[in-house]
Symmetry: C2
Subunit: 101 residues, 2 copies
DNA sequence: TCGATATTTAGCGTACACGCTAAATATCGA
DNA sequence: TCGATATTTAGCGTGTACGCTAAATATCGA
């Protein structure tokens, strides 16, 4: 991933976690392992289509991986993508810079 | 800071860093030490008032500290506030949870 | 095949983020 | 005091994020 792609990816990640519902979804899916879209939607106050859209944003940011399994769709968290954010935060650590972010 | 305040603070931080210009401002101010509003505005493509508004968002999120000094206004980064984000990210680390986030 | 289940797509309204320019405010130097 | 400098506030237009309901799509079980 070149620098430009990395920047774009970071931007997508930051946008994705900017919404409280999406942060909650991400954390819930992470803690419970894998969840179907229905499980996720059922746990949140929003209407299903609203949650679907949040899921789409998370997938497009690469934070959620999706796997279709029959009538269900399984979502899992891709922690690697969160590393981009950690790396960015690394720039603010005292006398220490991330490898090549 | 109780849990509710912490959540609100995290939300403000996430919203603040969701915009590329604000991420850039934050990093620039951090790397250069303290900067005046004019220095910051002069370095970015946006019109002054636009940058002023971004600065306001960052200050309200607690990410920037401001100190008025005569005609100038000095901005510095409050790294402590970024810890909120690190703490949240900590929830995604394998078999390890942040102290009490 | 047919109805039920799981999920998305379509489409709409509202609120707000973010860009701008113009005008206002505050402080300093002469 | 007065003009110059530094910064914000006011106000406007546009685009888009996000909530909703209704309808469409896809897959399974009987």
């Amino acid at each position: 991933m070149d620098a430009e792609a990395k920047l774009a990816a970071l931007d997508a990640v930051c946008t994705a976690i900017a919404h409280p519902a999406r942060r909650q979804i991400l954390l819930t899916v992470h803690l419970r392992g894998a969840m179907t879209a229905g499980d996720i939607a059922g746990r949140f106050a929003h209407a299903w289509p609203t949650t679907t859209r949040h899921l789409t944003v998370l997938v497009e940011a690469g934070l959620l991986l999706t796997e279709k399994s029959g009538r269900h769709r399984l979502y899992t968290v891709d922690r690697a993508r969160l590393e981009l954010l950690k790396e960015w935060l690394g720039w603010f650590d005292p006398r220490e810079a991330p490898e090549k972010a």
